[in-house]
Amino acid sequence: MGALPVYHYVGIGLLLFLIGAVGVIIRRNAIVMFLCLELMLNGVNVIFMALGRAKGSVEGQVIVLFIMAVAAAEAAIGMAIITSYYRTHRSVDADKADLMKW
């Protein structure tokens, strides 16, 4: 089997991060914004995996493991916030969340 230069993988990761970032900016639905956030995290994971692999070390995978754990915690908190927001506003429109705006 052949070998691929690592920057191809970094390109894939950047592409995922790009799509996620654009999604966070242009969508209004808080849940979909959250999904796009996960997309960004996933892109970073791909880059970590590829660079760790290219360096021949496992530490990239260790970092990815930690990122996944933090993403799980973040999902729990994020969904709880969205639930409690939905309870008071009957929508998850991020534009209508203006309690702390001034």
């Binding site: 052949g2 849940i31 999902a75």
Partner: protein, 170 residues
């Protein structure tokens, strides 16, 4: 056939990139949140396949499937289901500003792709077996023991916080 063999990795890479782009754009573009979540699921599965096939990390591929596709996504789908959301109505009032910001971010990140140094570090082998879970465990439970324990604390705090936030006020 054997003359085509050197191009195999590039064909696979192209396939993976296309799959990633299509499913990722699905998350951004689809108006129904359930469809967006399912597109994210497809994206996560493709990522898992990338880890398995291209980066020689079957353990991480499995963790990716179990944690992301199995836990986080089911969780998000449950919340969407409970809220019974309608389709998002794209408003065109705020559209120009938002689109401008989005396009700006897209341009910045797109040129970052070209700013990559092609001669940077080594090559990632295709399909070759990477370090297995045992090596990973050795590292986590020695050098990264403190971060590991801190992450467990973080998850505990997140669980308690989620209950406190989502609980119905009496």
């Amino acid at each position: 056939m054997s003359a085509l063999l050197p191009y195999m990795p590039y064909a696979l890479l192209l396939l993976f990139t296309l799959a990633m782009a299509v499913t990722g754009l699905g998350v951004v573009v689809l108006p129904n949140p359930v469809h967006a979540a399912l597109a994210l699921l497809a994206n996560l599965v493709v990522t898992s396949l990338l880890y398995m096939v291209m980066l020689g990390a079957p353990f991480m591929a499995m963790v990716q499937l179990i944690v992301y596709a199995g836990a986080i996504l089911v969780f998000i789908l449950f919340v969407i289901m409970l809220m019974n959301l309608r389709k998002e109505e794209y408003t065109f009032k705020v559209w120009p500003m938002r689109a401008l910001l989005g396009i700006g971010a897209a341009i910045v990140f797109f040129f970052q792709i070209f700013a990559l140094n092609p001669h940077f570090v080594g090559k990632a082998m295709l399909g070759a077996q990477g370090p297995d879970a045992k090596v990973l465990a050795d590292l986590i439970f020695s050098k990264y023991l403190l971060p590991f324990e801190l992450v467990s604390l973080l998850i505990f705090a997140a669980a308690v916080g989620a209950i406190a936030l989502a609980k119905k006020r009496a």
